[in-house]
Amino acid sequence: MTPVCELSALRPEQGVAALLPDGSQVAVFLTFDGSVHALDNIDPFSGAAVLARGIVGDRGGRPVVVSPVYKQAFDLTTGACLDSPDHSVAVHPVRVRDGVVELT
């Protein structure tokens, strides 16, 4: 159970990055319908820790974030890369409790 931030710190469709105790990073997103998602922050195509800074939207109804570097889309619910079946990022289970976003 790792608390990340207050829910109020998130804005719809605008990701933030969080530093985990082991030095790794997650990208946390609040989508327009109010759900919260967390993915690994490192973009597998460039190696840069930037996924939190991508544009959030949908592809055929699936919620996605688009990497700001070379623009591949990643499914927020599964971490799958929709532009390359060989790539994906890890998904972190999250929940919101008492107004706090936590990784479970």
Partner: protein, 824 residues
Amino acid sequence: MSTRTLVVVGHGMVGHRLVEALRAKDVDDQWRIVVFGEEARPAYDRVALSSYVDTWRAEDLELGPLEGADLRLGDAVVSVDRDRRVVTSASGAEVSYDALVLATGSVPFVPPVPGRDLPGCHVYRTIEDLDAIKATVDRSTRRIGRHSGMVLGGGLLGLEAANALRGMGVSPHVVELAPRLMPIQVDEGGAGLLKRLVEKLDLTVHTGTSASSIELDGDRLIAKLTNGLELDLDVVVFSAGIRPRTDLDLGLPLGPRGGYLVDDACRTSDPNVYAIGECASIEGTVYGLVAPGYSMAEVVADQLCGAASVFPGADTSTKLKLLGVDVASFGDAHATTEGALEVVVNNAVAGTYSKLVVSDDAKTLLGGILVGDASQYAMLRPLVGKDVPAGLLEPGGSAELSLPPDAQVCSCHAVTKQTITDAICAGVCTDVPTIKACTKAGTGCGSCVPMLKQLLTECGVEQSKALCEHFDHSRAELFEIVRATRITSFTELVGKHGRGRGCDICKPAVASILASLGNGHVLGGEQATLQDTNDRFLANMQRNGTYSVVPRIPGGEITPQKLIVIGEVARDFGLYTKITGGQRIDLFGATVDQLPEIWRRLVDAGFESGHAYGKALRTVKSCVGTTWCRYGVQDSVGLAIELELRYRGLRSPHKLKSAVSGCARECAEARGKDFGIIATENGWNLYVGGNGGFTPRHADLLVSDVDTESLIKYIDRFLMFYIRTADRLQRTSAWLEGLDGGLEHLREVIVDDSLGICADLEAAMAAHVEDYADEWRGVLEDPEKLARFQSFVNAPGTPDPTISFREERGQRVPVLLGIPEVAQ
């Protein structure tokens, strides 16, 4: 190893093509090629000769470089010894040949009018001819009113020459012996309309008459016409037709209308001697167009490589836009086929004329003439000799046209519909540019391009204008929706006019539209979530996730004091520093957290955002101009700064670049810019649609010799018109190329206000100038926006541990990042 020698006499368009074709076909290098050219310059695009008066730059007409041939320029062949198979040139060089190709072109025909050799009388065939015409006009001492000129000949070339004279500030009289203009291509009805249309454009047309004499009166020329009129002139241009050039006498038979007589394989009666292009009389016919010449070149290249090949016959259809008037003529335009029927629609009000010629049973299309509106030409021409499509002949006249596979779609390069559709269906070609690249279709005169688009549609390649899966509209349509409805947020727009939650295509496009229409700070409220990578943090993201910082340096002018500030900031934050290609300085390697601190220092020192990240105005480059340069004729730095300050922050479909040069030497490279300005003695020339980058394009001259106030007015209108109508990420170059009616249309809209929108465009620009505020200052003054510039939501101030640097040439550069293992 080359074992045989080909000598080509004449380095014109067709001679040039022959060398290209042979080099491509002669895979095992059998042939050594020697080309003699009488003109001192290499072959150029004579078809586009008239465009030379727009820029007076011969380079713009160059054909590709000639590779794999020994080119002897400025050295004409003076004799040929067919027995010994040796040619001798003017310089005395002797070259023996195994095959000889005559490609000597034509000479202009000058009717035997007394006075035709006086100074001030010219022909219209070469770059030198145009230079000489300009020299005459420049020398003319007329002080009052416009210069006046006469073009003798009202055919296609005569009208082109008249247009060129107009471009030199001369009012032309066109004198044509036949009772109508363009007698070869157009019939009476079409020519009547054509005359009315061109007369509106400062041309005076005299038909059914000719010049009986030309006399010198002081330094002026007086032409007497056979109908009794006298014209007082500064310059005379003869354009009364061409004659095949056969002054090189080989003792070979000539055709009935001149020209070296050849068979359908382009061979003269001497099996080692060929003739191609305008000097050839192929089975008795001489062609004055380049496309038949190109097919002859291909035929000879085949023969030389041992392949049997014959001239396929030629399409003499023409389409041109003269003085903004469309004229097209194709197939049996004059209905000379026995029993041919004509269907004529002459609309005097709309200013259009169309005639279709069909066979006696009305089943086969034979030809036609279109004046005023030739938009149907690309579809109709390939149908000549084929079935008349259903509905075509009914009143109102257009039809769903579908071409048979063997129809020639591009006659410049002899490309059939089949070739193109095969390439589309194989997935090789997905749009017009790729069709051009892989089949060559559309790369000649360009008149088949509309047909290429239609073929894409026919093959099911959807040329959808939909922006993306979330909007069915094009960017231009969305722009109009936002402008008309005053919607100010993406959520409202996608809710009312789209679907879903958007993506990386539509969100930045909508962000740009909202910004162009002035909706506050680009990171205000929801807008922050729409911005693409770089706009999101008002800086350019680099490969390791750090950012670069580019302060605006208008016109490239900077005080030493400000330079020192930049140096100090770079030193204090350890930023890699580089001079950009845009006359300013880029500081690399800033982390998200550092951006506001860096910008605070810069803004305090008087800098503002340079928008290196935005689809917005980048730089207006300048040269030093009159202030320092001994050649400068205007203050280019002053104007560049004025323009950069006027248009800074202007959001557009793609980035905008500009430059101002102080004289025609063009040190600021203005013609490579979206809008470029070059100083003249009398003011400024404005060029638009230039591009460096991926597909370089020289900008086109929009207006010349205007004062600063008019210049700015035209730029305001140009930019706003572009912003309203371009596609997303379409630079002005591609936009202009795709614009229906091209440069001429643009000029009508921007200069003549043909759409009546100029006042509106100017008002929109005035609003932009009024509302401009520095984006970075806007961030620094707003704690809510500032809060977003942090690496980690749960550890503010902690730098991103994945970022590290090493040193190279005394500066910090990123350590290459490892790519994580691919997770399956």
